[in-house]
Subunit: 482 residues, 2 copies
């Protein structure tokens, strides 16, 4: 440990010196992983990793950063195809530095005039792309889980018979959602105290989209058992396969029964920017609220999530008593003091990281990013379908592809074990990063195409690599893997 030198830690020339060195370090890193001269990730055991950092000692900050970079997972590697976290565009990353230096707190307007105004504009742009009218409104918040919770709190505020904010829960509440939805909807329900009975799971069809024919009976059963159903949640897309629920049908049902219609588009709502793919979202313009992450498909560092309301005035009802809200309707809603509407009090200047892309390219970058990644997924699905040893789980709708290695000679009871082992060996080699998932209780490998510079060649090599590793594993009845 070194003595504390405040003159260094806050000195502009120290910032300049270390900053330039860091920029070179990161640019070199981007070059190396971009050209695949580095592995995608180096696997270490968690306890080993802790031990490493406990005993590590660095001569200067640069050595520390270099080690952080080397040991992290490398999303900028074109063979990173794992979880749907963005490969960050240059200017979006650099804008995060601007936000970190300025550190405006955002809870009230004075503490973040620039970012408050930019949020307003960016939300407007998104609302327009979604097909909302001029009365739409919203804000950015720290991640999809928080945004979905916030939207469901609004639903609760608007749709219950009693004022839950003031009176507490006075009746059993529930919502309807696909069984393939992200777990954060379940969490939100339980956080609000609705329990497991508060989440009514609707089965999905073979493409993992909500089977809306099951909605009426599920709804009636809930009502008959005394539950007040407040919301219907659509997934765009679902967690495992990226499937889009038929939003128009959901909107019809929600409208008929006066339910709040929320769309968790954390991953997929971004396709609204693409003329080629936006049809997937047909009906989203009828949602009461939509969540979308800039930090998934749109090249932005996390957490940068938009929550947009079709009727912007609803956003003021989330954290307010009904009486307050009525009062406010006759007064200015102070849209610019965003902390009144976000779960966070202090919030970082997350908007800078997305606005920089918008101010420079309009929505063109967003559109082309979506199309590039979705097209890649289509290409990969074709490759899988053209390879007799592989199975495709379902035709991809977004940039997610679930598939597995399943040659005819592998007994079906060994398929999961074999694919688990394949993935394990591949990520241990650092050659690719891909994940695994369960779809309808079956095991699949899961690819999310995130890197705009991943090529068809990379995808072909992945399939070859899987075959090579499988042959290395040898007979599938080998004791080491069964």
């Amino acid at each position: 440990m070194q003595p504390y030198q405040p003159q260094d830690m806050f000195h502009p020339e120290q910032f300049r010196k270390e900053g330039h060195a860091l920029i070179d370090l990161l640019a070199d890193y981007l070059t190396d992983v971009g050209q695949q001269r580095e592995v995608v990730l180096s696997c270490t055991a968690p306890d080993e990793e802790v031990e490493f950092w406990k005993t590590a000692c660095f001569g200067d900050n640069l050595a520390y950063w270099k080690t952080v970079v080397a040991r992290s997972i490398h999303l900028h590697h074109p063979r990173y195809m794992g979880h749907q976290t963005a490969v960050v565009a240059n200017e979006a990353a650099l804008s995060a530095l601007v936000g970190a230096v300025l550190n405006n707190g955002m809870a009230v307007y004075e503490m973040g005039a620039v970012s408050t105004a930019q949020e307003q504009i960016l939300v407007e742009v998104l609302a327009q792309a979604l097909g909302f009218g001029f009365q739409a409104g919203g804000f950015l918040t720290s991640g999809g889980t928080l945004a979905n919770l916030t939207a469901l709190l609004t639903a609760r505020a608007v749709k219950t018979n009693r004022d839950v904010w003031e009176e507490g829960m006075q009746e059993p509440l529930a919502l309807l959602v696909s069984e393939e939805a992200h777990y954060c909807v379940d969490r939100a329900v339980r956080i609000m105290g609705w329990g497991s009975a508060g989440i009514i799971r609707i089965p999905t069809n073979s493409r993992m989209q909500m089977d809306t024919t099951s909605l009426p009976s599920a709804y009636e059963e809930a009502c008959a058992s005394g539950k007040k159903v407040v919301a219907l949640v659509g997934s765009a897309g679902s967690t495992s396969t990226g499937s889009f629920d038929p939003l128009n049908e959901l909107a019809d049902f929600a409208g008929k029964h006066q339910l709040w219609f929320h769309v968790d588009g954390a991953h997929g709502a971004a396709v609204t920017f693409s003329d080629k793919y936006k049809l997937l979202l047909r009906g989203i313009e009828r949602a009461d609220s939509v969540v979308m992450d800039f930090h998934k498909l749109l090249g932005t560092p996390g957490l940068t999530t938009a929550l947009v309301y079709r009727n912007g005035a609803d956003s003021f009802r989330t954290f307010a008593q009904r009486a307050d809200y009525l009062l406010e309707q006759t007064q200015s809603p102070e849209w610019f003091n965003i902390g009144r509407r976000t779960l966070e009090c202090t919030k970082n200047m997350m908007v800078l990281r997305a606005y920089v892309l918008y101010q420079r390219y309009g929505t063109t970058f967003f559109a082309q990013q979506v199309e590039r990644l979705h097209d890649l997924a289509q290409q990969f699905a074709q490759l899988v379908q053209g390879s007799p040893d592989f199975r495709l789980c379902t035709q991809p709708e977004t940039n997610i592809v679930c598939f597995r290695y399943q040659p005819d000679y592998v007994p079906s009871q060994n398929v999961e074990t074999l694919n688990r082992e394949i993935r394990k060996r591949i990520i241990e080699s650092g050659a690719f990063y891909l994940v695994q998932t369960q779809v309808k209780k079956q095991f699949w490998l899961r690819l999310t195409l995130m890197h705009p510079e991943t090529t068809k060649e990379d995808l072909k090599i992945l399939l070859l690599e899987i075959q090579r590793v499988a042959s290395e594993i040898g007979p599938v009845h080998h004791p080491s893997i069964v």
Copy 2:
């Protein structure tokens, strides 16, 4: 708008070029505000600010960043004395850039080995400083509001008679907290569906600390009315004045009644690193959970919040059914898949921004930062007390000082109007940034000393400036301000 050039947006040499230019821009900015050649903030009306950004057009990203910097509030200005958001240390800001480029998602270990390990270590360091034993544990999360909500969800999971996660609310729940606590405790209670009856506010003494003599009757009354009280929340410190509740007395009471004892130390728990000030936290080592923001006193960009549990195993109970939890106790708790314990699924690599300070200076920087800012507050309080025209609200315990301009000749009914106007004019001039607050229904100006290079001279000039502005306002019965 310019055509989309993916080869620019993801090209390492573009990153290098723009990165170096940005470093110079930010270093120049830090120089200028450090030497007070810039204003602290430029006040614009919210709608004007939106209009500005809607019509602005920038030749390149650098021009955009320059404008963002110019129009934001300048926390690195030594006369920034407003909300308690950190003036960020150089290496902490630069580490945010590392995190933004790498963008590891953190929900599972593979997606963030480095940051997972560093969180483990940093939480251990904090736990040790707080006086917790080896069984302590925790994680970082996106802000104090989220962290407090998470801790209270744990309290609910551990202390209720029924399994709320599974069964939903089955009895009226409540917690005890000081009337001077941060509003996020109230929000958390209402989010969980407890309603206003779920928050039992304990009055404070003249120093805005919880008056623990009121606890027994409040508790008995709650029980008598059929509420299940699950938690007692201490503030360290309170929102308006930064007052510390007597934590040992709270711990006694919580222990006697088997309540979860949570301490919201978002602002003040950082004093645990200072031998000089840590006595303020006496008793915190008996808390079940403690929240502390690195992005307040500790020079780190937001949001970077620690939630530490005295018994780390409790952290696994927040989002789990009791049955699951029992099951897990016999298995590995997978501490390294942090998404199981945090409200967020994807989380950013926030730890890098604080760990960089720890790996270099141990806890010395944290200690000296706390002491510098607290000492400044003491100096300012002395200046106020030495100036007959000023009143001190209460002796500061932390780096927050509430005071006002109140010469004898100003009628008491005009004091608020006068001080509001003084603050308005001062922040409009951009000379200083300070805020206002209500303490026991009275209006006060509020200073939070955040900048380690603020001097006693700056503080003297603030008082002179207030007097000058007051005289400019003129007779306080002037119609324009009454």
